[in-house]
């Protein structure tokens, strides 16, 4: 009895010591996060309540920046563009990646090579990808000219990145092109974790490839799919690089996103306080998505 208590005490003290050691190991990373994320985030929250221009003292203005934000058509237009961007990214790359991964999962020879090929665009720097696509979409020597020269009917004078209606979808599709291979790899990894016997059972029941995908593959990777959807929403809210490189929010604001508008307010108009309020609002929207994700996890999906 006494020996058992001693043993448990010893075991407990080892566990406690390990926990303390673990905490010690975490300290540098926590400190880094405090310096890089928590401190500046608190500062951002503070500056969003001021009229700070980036230099000099900041005057307290209360909620004025948020009131202004809610009354600015420019902000709503940018937010609407973010929603369009999100809509495109929730459908096109996920759809292509799902179908691609399902097809790739069915073949054995060349799978690795194809996976690498599809993944390759994701490894190319966004400035390089942007430059390539700017040339590919050039109205005089790009894809449309090529299609036109081989007899495909192209609307006369169509300039994809220069037209109000087509600029945002065009930039979004460039981002999709760079991204979908990454999603494919994620989906493929998830699909490879599905028990093969489930497919065998489905085949015995007479399921064809589509039914297999619908009734076995999709439920099998559902947690991953939810994760990809959540991360896609967050990425879409934070989207910046391709728009800034390719169109800088133009033509005439047609591709302005909240992030590019925020950059302009902070570093062109020197309205840092207002830009901070914009950034914080975007963070809150992202937080809602993250909380939703956490709730979903607690419901029992191991994502």
């Amino acid at each position: 009895m006494g020996d058992g208590t001693t043993y448990r005490r010893g075991a407990n003290s080892i566990v406690a010591a390990r926990a303390r050691f673990g905490l010690v190991l975490l300290v540098p990373f926590l400190a880094l996060n405090v310096i890089v994320i928590v401190g500046p985030s608190l500062a951002t929250a503070y500056f969003s309540l001021t009229d700070w221009t980036g230099v000099g003292p900041a005057q307290w203005v209360g909620l004025d920046n948020y009131r202004r934000l809610l009354s600015e058509a420019e902000f709503y237009a940018a937010l609407a563009h973010n929603l369009v961007w999100t809509g495109i990214h929730l459908t096109v790359p996920i759809g292509i990646a799902l179908v691609g991964a399902a097809m790739l999962a069915r073949i054995r020879r060349g799978r690795l090579v194809l996976r690498l090929v599809y993944f390759l665009p994701y490894t190319v720097a966004s400035v390089v990808t942007a430059a390539i696509w700017q040339d590919l979409l050039d109205p005089e020597r790009g894809i449309l000219t090529l299609l036109s020269s081989v007899g495909v009917t192209v609307p006369n004078g169509l300039v994809l990145l220069g037209e109000q209606a087509t600029a945002l979808p065009s930039v979004a599709m460039i981002n999709v092109w760079a991204l979908w291979g990454f999603l494919l790899v994620i989906f493929l990894s998830a699909m490879q974790g599905i028990d093969e016997s489930l497919y065998e059972a489905a085949r015995i029941d007479g399921a064809n490839a589509v039914r297999e995908f619908w009734h076995v593959t999709l439920p099998g990777i559902f947690p991953t799919l939810v994760f990809v959807v959540v991360i896609s929403v967050m990425w879409s809210l934070l989207a910046f690089d391709y728009v800034w490189i390719i169109t800088q929010g133009g033509p005439a604001g047609a591709t302005e996103l909240v992030s590019t508008l925020m950059y302009r307010e902070a570093f062109e108009r020197f309205d840092v306080g207002y830009a901070a309020s914009m950034g914080l609002s975007l963070t809150l929207i992202s937080a809602f998505v993250t909380i939703g994700f956490v709730v979903v996890r607690r419901k029992g999906w191991s994502v």
Binding site: G157, F240, T247, G253, A276
Partner: protein, 467 residues
């Protein structure tokens, strides 16, 4: 399932960091020291320069950094090169974090008043007097950097906007350079009928460059006095003359005279603009004198054609406006950090750059765009090896501005919020999304906010006898 941090996530994190959400403000708060901040070592002058490209940086190292060290024993320049698009942002963050270099370069006089008001910049008046800067700078230049009677900045990279034209094409078709609106419109119509784009143009590489057009249309339609009154708040941006100027710019864009159409303008790169001009696909290109640095790469043997180029002022767009008129601009300013440990040495650096006209002219001859300082040059100051067209352009520019025939570039004379409104909404204007009167009303609104914040730059008075 484990989540890995993706490259894109990191990239976007960095992007947002730079927006001030995380990193930008963070570096201010935590005082993260950017590279090459003020060293505190007397005699060593830190300087963040926006000079771009290896050749000009090599030249600067040889002709300025090395020769300065010889001229001033015990003093040296420690230069760090920054992307010109990012320099203003980095300087502001560094000033707020007390890690800015000894010599503070800004994007232009419009950015100086706020920094001076906050006490970040040293008063240069004493140095100007002691080192005789007023005798070498053009007479109106010191006023650009003077706030409440104190000199805070010296403009660098003096520039103007004008027409680069394909001389060979003009000669072949027998066209003459337009000097007024009627001639310009007749020429553009004729060129368009011939299937030649009147002006090669595009802002794909840098959307903000649409302000070249607003600067020219406002200046050459309104004229010096009206623009001066508007920029100083004496008259509103919504006055009828400027609304007409905006309408004219919208009309020319809609006719396809700039870049062959609005959509093409938004997707055409500078490289293509210059190549089209040199090849004769376009007859003219409305651009700044910084293009002197590159123009010879596109024409003649270097450009793979037999064409030649010329430069001329943009036509007057209203009878009341004089010709020639040059919209004046500066690509940046130099100031001394108020917290510099080496203010005297920093002043010596500025003096080294502006004090000797002949040396400064040699630097212009080597790199016309980067080292075009607004000094009292005469034709004799420039080396004989210099391109005659460039020399003539600079001398004409000095003469015309001396007579008060000046226009005002957006990036030099517009207050910060108004300046952004002008180039941001100009895209809506030329695309036909915004009416000219609404465009001008937006600018007026932004300008009033600048006035409230006290962020209006000094504007050259065209009535002042500039000598």
């Amino acid at each position: 399932m484990t989540t890995t941090i993706s490259r894109r996530l990191v990239l976007r994190g960095c992007a947002l960091g730079s927006l001030g959400l995380v990193g930008g403000l963070g570096s201010v708060l935590t005082g993260c020291a950017p590279e090459s901040g003020s060293t505190g070592r007397p005699g060593t002058v830190t300087y963040w320069s926006a000079l771009e490209g290896a050749p000009v940086r090599r030249y600067f190292a040889q002709e300025v950094v090395a020769k300065f060290a010889k001229a001033y024993p015990g003093e040296q320049i420690k230069v760090s090169y920054k992307n010109s698009h990012d320099l203003e942002r980095e300087v502001r963050l560094a000033l707020a974090a007390n890690t800015a270099p000894d010599i503070v370069e800004t994007n232009g006089p419009a950015f100086v008043p706020e920094l001076a008001e906050q006490g970040y910049l040293a008063d240069l008046s004493g140095y100007a007097k002691q080192l005789g800067w007023n005798d070498t700078l053009l007479p109106w230049v010191p006023s650009l950097g003077t706030i409440d009677g104190k000199l805070y900045s010296i403009p660098i990279q003096f520039e103007t906007l004008g027409i680069f034209y394909n001389q060979t094409l003009f000669d072949k078709l027998g066209y003459t350079l337009p000097e007024n609106r009627a001639d310009l419109e007749a020429l553009c119509s004729e060129l368009a009928n011939q299937g030649i784009t009147p002006f090669a143009a595009g802002n794909r590489d840098f959307a903000q460059t649409i302000e070249w057009f607003t600067s020219v249309f406002f200046s050459n339609y309104a004229g010096p006095q009206l623009m001066y009154d508007v920029l100083t708040g004496e008259r509103p941006w919504t006055n009828q003359v400027l609304v007409e100027a905006a309408a004219l710019m919208q009309d020319y864009f809609q006719r396809g005279w700039f870049g062959g159409g609005v959509e093409r303008y938004f997707t055409t790169s500078f490289n293509k603009v210059h190549a089209d001009l040199a090849a004769g696909k376009a007859a003219m290109n409305m651009e700044g004198t910084w293009f002197f640095a590159e123009v010879n790469n596109f024409f003649g043997k270097a450009g793979g054609n037999n064409n030649d180029w010329g430069f001329a002022p943009f036509p007057s767009l209203r009878d009341e406006v004089p010709y020639p008129l040059y919209p004046v601009g500066t690509g940046g300013t130099l100031s001394i950090n108020a917290d510099s440990a080496s203010p005297d040495a920093a002043a010596h650096v500025i003096d080294f750059l502006i004090g000797d006209r002949k040396k400064a002219a040699e630097r212009i001859a080597a790199f016309p765009a980067e080292f075009a300082l607004p000094l009292r040059f005469t034709a004799d100051d420039f080396p004989t090896s210099m391109d005659e067209r460039i020399r003539t352009a600079y001398v004409d520019l000095m003469t015309a501005t001396g007579r008060g025939n000046i226009g005002y570039t957006n990036w030099t004379f517009s207050a910060p919020k108004a300046a952004v409104e002008i180039y941001e909404k100009a895209q809506d204007l030329v695309a036909g999304k915004l009416a000219p009167d609404a465009y001008m009303a937006g600018i007026e609104d932004a300008f009033q906010q600048d006035l409230e914040r006290g962020f209006t730059p000094v504007v050259i008075d065209p009535q002042v006898n500039n000598g």
